[in-house]
C-alpha cells in the first residue's frame, strides 16, 4: 500500500513476489536555487560564495537483483553539488530469511554488508526519491552529512515490529573531516533503530521508533616541523627591519586522539489517505553529544569540553489530487547547547540555534515526474548587529526542482 503510493516507510527488499531479473531504476533531480547570502566572490582558499545556480542535485541509477535467499543492490550517484562527481551511493549485498508477501513488510531477517543508509531516525533512511522536501532537516544533515556508511547491518520485521542494527566505520559519506567512508580509528560505530509500523486501516498507517548511535570521533594529530625563520612585520612598514626576524624552533608531532560521541532519537510518522489524497505527518527529535559532522563540527579535544546538540522537526505534506502536493516543515537545531559568546570581556550563554521554516508546493505526475518549489526561511544567530550581539544572518533560499523517475 505505502510503497505503491510512493511512501515507503520501510526501505529495503521487495516482498515475496520479487522480480526474477535485474531491475534498473533511477531518478534525476535537477534544480535552480537562489540564496540570499550569495556573493560573486570566493572564500580564502577558493571556495565559491555564489550559490545562485543550476545544480544537478542527484542523478541516480540503481541496479538490483533478487533471489529467494538474498539481494544485491548497486546505486550510483552523479551530481554537480561540489563540481562534477560520480560516486557509489549504495552497494549492498544481503542474505535474507523470511520474505513477506506484503511489499511494505520487510523480511524476518536480513544480513547486509556493504555501503548502506544508516538506520538512525526516519529522515536518514527515507528515500530522497520519495521525500517531497528538497533536503533532510538541518539537524539530520549536521549529524549525518551523508546517509550511507560502510559496514554490516542486521535488520528485519516481525508483524508490526521493526529493527535495524548496524556496525559501521563511523565516518559517513560527505562528512567534513576528510575521512568520509574511511575509518581513522579501530572503533566501530553502532547505530540502531527499533520501531513499529502498523496499518491501522486500509487507508491509514502509523509508525515510529527510537534510535541510537554510539561511537568514537577522531581528532587528527599534527606532523613534526623543522626549525625555521619567521618574519613578522612588527612596525608594518613592509621592510625586514632589525628585531623582526625570529627563530621558529621545530615542534614535535602531536598524536591523534579519539573521543566518545553518541546520539538518541525518537520519530513518529502518520499516513492517511482521504478523498483529497495522501496526508503525511511526521516528526523527529534527537539529542546528541560531539556528533555534529556537517554544520559546526564538534571536536571536544579542540574545544576542551563536550558539545551537546539538540534538534527536532515536524513536517506535513498533503496531496491535492494525484497531481499536486503542498507541504510544510519546521525544523530546529542547536549545534551547541552550551555555547558562550564573548562580549565586553564576559562569556555570555548564547543560543546558536538554527530554525528553518520550509513551505513547498509541487506538481506531479505520479511515479514519473515532479516539479517542486520550496522556500526555506532560515533564522539563526550567525551575524551580529551594531551592538555586537548575534542576530539573524540573511540566508533564506528558494529552490525549483524538476525530478524525473524511471
Amino acid at each position: 500500500m505505502l510503497a505503491r503510493a510512493g511512501y515507503p516507510l520501510t526501505p529495503g527488499v521487495t516482498g515475496a513476489d520479487y522480480p526474477h531479473e535485474f531491475v534498473v531504476s533511477g531518478y534525476v533531480q535537477a534544480q535552480y536555487e537562489a540564496h540570499q547570502e550569495s556573493e560573486d566572490q570566493q572564500l580564502q582558499g577558493g571556495s565559491l560564495l555564489n550559490k545562485d545556480r543550476f545544480v544537478l542535485r542527484r542523478g541516480r541509477v540503481k541496479v538490483s537483483r533478487d533471489w529467494d535467499w538474498g539481494q544485491v543492490q548497486l546505486e550510483l550517484d552523479g551530481n554537480t553539488v561540489r563540481g562534477p562527481a560520480m560516486r557509489v551511493q549504495k552497494a549492498e549485498v544481503s542474505l535474507l530469511y523470511g520474505r513477506q508477501a506484503d511489499k511494505d513488510q520487510p523480511p524476518l531477517m536480513q544480513l547486509t554488508f556493504g555501503q548502506f543508509d544508516l538506520p538512525f531516525g526516519f529522515e536518514t533512511t527515507y528515500s530522497s526519491k520519495s521525500r517531497w522536501f528538497m533536503e533532510r532537516s538541518t539537524g539530520a544533515r549536521a549529524l549525518f552529512p551523508g546517509e550511507p556508511d560502510v559496514g554490516a547491518r542486521l535488520s528485519g520485521g516481525i508483524a508490526f515490529a521493526r529493527y535495524s542494527i548496524a556496525i559501521t566505520n563511523g565516518e559517513p559519506l560527505d562528512e567534513r573531516s576528510g575521512f568520509g567512508l574511511q575509518d581513522p580509528n579501530a572503533n566501530k560505530d553502532i547505530t540502531a533503530r527499533f520501531g513499529a509500523e502498523a496499518k491501522l486501516t486500509p487507508s491509514a498507517a502509523l509508525a515510529g521508533g527510537v534510535s541510537f548511535n554510539r561511537g568514537r570521533g577522531y581528532h587528527p594529530g599534527t606532523d613534526a616541523t623543522k626549525n625555521g625563520l619567521t618574519w613578522r612585520d612588527l612596525n608594518e612598514n613592509g621592510n625586514v627591519d632589525s628585531g623582526e626576524v625570529f627563530g621558529q624552533p621545530g615542534t614535535q608531532a602531536v598524536p591523534a586522539k579519539t573521543f566518545a560521541r553518541w546520539a538518541v532519537a525518537a520519530d513518529i510518522e502518520f499516513l492517511l489517505q482521504t478523498r483529497l489524497g495522501w496526508s503525511m505527518l511526521y516528526g523527529e527529535a534527537f539529542a546528541a553529544s560531539n556528533l555534529d559532522r556537517g554544520l559546526l563540527i564538534a571536536d571536544p579535544i579542540a574545544s576542551g569540553a563536550n558539545i551537546r546538540e539538540f534538534g527536532y522537526y515536524i513536517a506535513f505534506t498533503q496531496e491535492i489530487s494525484r497531481f499536486a502536493t503542498i507541504g510544510f516543515r519546521y525544523d530546529y537545531y542547536d549545534p551547541n547547547s552550551d555555547f558562550l559568546d564573548k562580549r565586553a570581556g564576559k562569556l555570555i550563554p548564547t543560543s546558536q540555534r538554527v530554525q528553518t521554516v520550509s513551505p513547498l508546493i509541487a506538481l506531479s505526475f505520479p511515479n514519473r515526474a515532479r516539479l517542486v518549489f520550496e522556500w526555506d526561511f532560515v533564522s539563526d544567530y550567525l551575524a551580529r548587529d551594531s551592538r555586537g550581539v548575534p542576530r539573524d544572518l540573511r540566508n533564506n533560499q528558494w529552490t525549483l526542482r524538476l525530478q524525473g523517475m524511471f
Binding site: 613592509g238 565586553a344 551580529r384 550581539v389
Partner: protein, 291 residues
C-alpha cells in the same frame, strides 16, 4: 576586516567635528560609551595591504565598536569589545584589516565609535591614514609639500605569474630586475645615487608576493631620448594566461600628486603560458616612450 560583521549604512554616533561643538560634562557611567584609545604601528597603508592591526580601548559600558573608513561609504564593521585592560579597567578591542587594491590613494579617515548594549553610540574618534599606491609617489598624495618622483614606468598584472618589466634606454642599456640600476653599481659595489631604480622583482621564481607590480623609478630627471618598453613572461606559474598593463607616470616641477597619478602612456596586453621565456632575451615589445 577579519572576523567582523559588516553592516550597511552610515556609521552611528556623533561625528568628531559635531562633538566639539556640543561637548558636555556627562556622567562617565551613565553617558554614552566612549572610544578612549586607538593604536596602530604607523599611519601608512599601501593599496592591497593585508593584516594591518588596530587596537584600542573603550569605556566599560561599551558592548561593541564600529569602524568605518572614509572612502568606503557602503557601511561599517562591528567588533564586540573584548576583555578589560588590567591597568585602566576599560575594555579592549582589536581589529585586523585588509585594504582593497582599488582604494584611492591619499588621506583617509578611519573612524571608530563605541556602542553600548542599548544601541546607543558615542562620539566617533578619528585616525587619519595615508594610503599609498602601487606606483611610488613619495607620499605626495598625502603631503602636498612632498614631490612625486620625476618619472615611473609601472607594470601591473592580474594573476600570480612571474612577469618582468624590461626597459631599454636610449643608449641600448637594459634595465630590468636583474639589472635594477640604470647607472649600474658604483665602483665600490653600492647602489648609485642617481638614475632609475627598480623597486622589486615581483613573484620572482613563482614565490608569490601578491604585489604583481614592478616599477622603474626616476627621482631625478630621466635622460632624454627614446625608451623601449618590453614585458617578459619569465614563468607562468601554472597560470594559463596573464593580462598586464604598462603605464608611464611623469611629474614636472609644479605637478601635483593627482596629475602624477594620471599616466601619460598606458598600454595593456595579454600573454599565454606558451610565451614563457627564461632565456633572458627581450620579451614582448609594448611601446616606445620619449622623455
Amino acid at each position: 576586516m577579519r572576523d567582523a560583521q559588516f553592516i550597511e549604512g552610515e556609521l552611528p554616533g556623533t561625528a568628531p567635528e559635531d562633538a566639539e561643538d556640543s561637548d558636555s560634562d556627562e556622567d562617565e557611567e551613565d553617558g554614552p560609551p566612549k572610544v578612549t584609545a586607538i593604536e596602530t604601528f604607523n599611519l601608512d597603508v599601501f593599496q592591497g595591504q593585508g593584516g594591518k592591526a588596530f587596537r584600542g580601548r573603550v569605556s566599560a559600558n561599551a558592548s561593541a565598536v564600529a569602524i568605518a573608513l572614509e572612502g568606503v561609504d557602503a557601511g561599517y564593521w562591528v567588533i564586540p569589545s573584548g576583555s578589560p585592560d588590567p591597568v585602566t579597567e576599560e575594555l579592549t578591542w582589536s581589529a585586523v584589516t585588509d585594504f582593497d587594491v582599488s582604494l584611492r590613494t591619499g588621506k583617509h579617515a578611519l573612524r571608530v565609535v563605541a556602542i553600548d548594549e542599548s544601541g546607543r553610540a558615542g562620539t566617533q574618534l578619528e585616525l587619519v591614514l595615508c594610503v599609498t599606491g602601487r606606483v611610488p609617489d613619495n607620499r605626495s598624495a598625502c603631503s602636498p609639500d612632498k614631490q612625486p618622483p620625476r618619472a615611473v614606468i609601472s607594470l601591473q598584472w592580474d594573476v600570480n605569474a612571474d612577469l618582468d618589466l624590461q626597459v631599454v634606454d636610449p643608449d641600448g642599456n637594459v634595465i630590468d630586475a636583474k639589472h635594477p640600476y640604470s647607472a649600474g653599481l658604483t665602483e665600490d659595489g653600492k647602489a648609485p645615487m642617481e638614475g632609475a631604480v627598480f623597486d622589486r622583482d615581483s613573484n620572482a621564481g613563482c614565490v608569490v608576493d601578491g604585489v604583481r607590480t614592478e616599477n622603474l623609478v626616476w627621482n631625478n630627471d630621466a635622460p632624454e631620448g627614446t625608451y623601449r618598453l618590453y614585458v617578459n613572461l619569465f614563468d607562468a606559474c601554472k597560470q594559463p594566461a596573464v593580462r598586464f598593463r604598462v603605464a608611464v607616470h611623469r611629474a614636472d616641477d609644479d605637478d601635483t600628486a593627482a596629475r602624477f597619478a594620471k599616466p601619460r602612456l598606458l598600454r595593456s596586453g595579454a600573454l599565454l603560458d606558451l610565451a614563457a621565456d627564461t632565456s633572458g632575451e627581450r620579451g614582448l615589445f609594448v611601446a616606445e616612450y620619449s622623455f
